[in-house]
């Protein structure tokens, strides 16, 4: 079901439970997609989504009706991602995705496929791998610009950095991603 932000706020005033449910359903995809492309890990993305919504719901009562919800959701999502503590950096999860895009748990039972799956890389996987390796700020700027199609000014506002910094972050990020994709031979032939 799709309802407008204003309707959600109105419903929230009458019935918190229903309002929050509508809010969650409306924005879960948005939040999860950013979180997943940022972490490239299902568990982390789910943790992040949960954190984002808990913090949204906590401050929902103070939310002014004249503002719209989306910019607020964006900002919280970006902040949560950037502050995301990478405690699990050293741990290997079975759901973790290897460079070739398949999960480790799939590879364990199928040793014969390992070679062919790691050799084959398509654009999407190569791009994901390159983005994953970027420093957090560069990664976020790149995702907001290219995945979400945001303007430089909007990225600066949401990430709370000067416009010049956004440009620098994007320049560096694109350069790194390009080098990585050239190395993978994505655009050859």
């Amino acid at each position: 079901m799709d309802v407008s932000d204003a309707a959600i706020l109105k419903i929230y005033k009458k019935n918190k439970h229903q309002g929050l449910e509508l809010l969650y359903d409306r924005y879960k995809k948005y939040v999860y997609t950013i979180a997943y492309n940022y972490t490239h890990n299902k568990e982390d993305a789910l943790d992040l989504t949960q954190e984002v919504f808990i913090s949204i719901l906590k401050s929902m009562d103070n939310f002014k009706e004249e503002f719209s919800i989306l910019p607020w959701v964006k900002r919280i999502t970006v902040n949560k991602c950037l502050n995301f503590a990478r405690d699990k950096k050293e741990a290997v999860s079975l759901n973790q995705t290897v460079a070739a895009g398949s999960e480790i748990q799939d590879l364990i039972g199928a040793p014969n496929n390992t070679e062919s799956t790691t050799l084959y890389q398509d654009t999407r996987q190569s791009l994901a791998k390159a983005i994953k390796e970027l420093p957090p700020q560069e990664r976020m700027a790149l995702l907001l610009r290219h995945m979400k199609g945001m303007k430089y000014e909007e990225i600066a506002r949401i990430m709370n950095v000067p416009l010049g910094t956004v440009k620098t972050l994007l320049h560096r990020a694109r350069k790194t991603v390009k080098v990585s994709m050239v190395k993978d031979g994505i655009w050859e032939g």
Binding site: K16, H17, E21, Y32, T33, F53, I54, H171
Partner: protein
């Protein structure tokens, strides 16, 4: 082969964030510099892939619904009803349920119709009865 041009300008050219004067300069430069043309081609391919939405598509896992339940349970209880409201609701449901069989009793609907019609036919009688009822209630209240 050792081009000194700041490659950042090529990114800005593609993004349209380049200064107009620099744009003219870069375009002139590209006519003569093979290295930068190669770089620009690669950047174009990069931009194409970066802006390709299908590269970011994710399937939403079922766990998202579990998170929803979890968050909702923590954040907001279902609106609490007063005891009286709950009792009324139960009574209303009971009455509705216990009267459900009436829909299937043969002849009941026709019976109802007949009653209605006869009430219409004798309004004065009904009026008298209802007046009597009103009086009786008043009498009880006064007591």
């Amino acid at each position: 082969m050792d081009c000194k041009l700041d490659k950042v300008l090529l990114q800005d050219l593609l993004e349209g964030t380049i200064d107009p004067v620099e744009k003219l300069f870069v375009e002139e430069h590209l006519k003569t510099c093979r290295e930068c043309r190669q770089e620009l081609t690669e950047l174009k391919l990069l931009f194409w892939d970066l802006f390709d939405k299908s590269n970011y598509e994710v399937s939403l896992p079922s766990e998202l619904d579990q998170i929803k339940d979890l968050i909702l349970a923590n954040a907001a209880e279902q609106p609490a009803k007063s005891t009286a409201e709950i009792i009324c609701d139960i009574q209303r449901q009971n009455i509705r349920a216990s009267g459900m069989f009436l829909d299937y009793v043969p002849g009941l609907k026709t019976g109802n119709m007949l009653v209605k019609e006869s009430v219409k036919a004798a309004p004065s009688a009904m009026l008298r009865i209802s007046k009597g009822l009103v009086k009786a209630t008043k009498f009880f209240l006064a007591k």
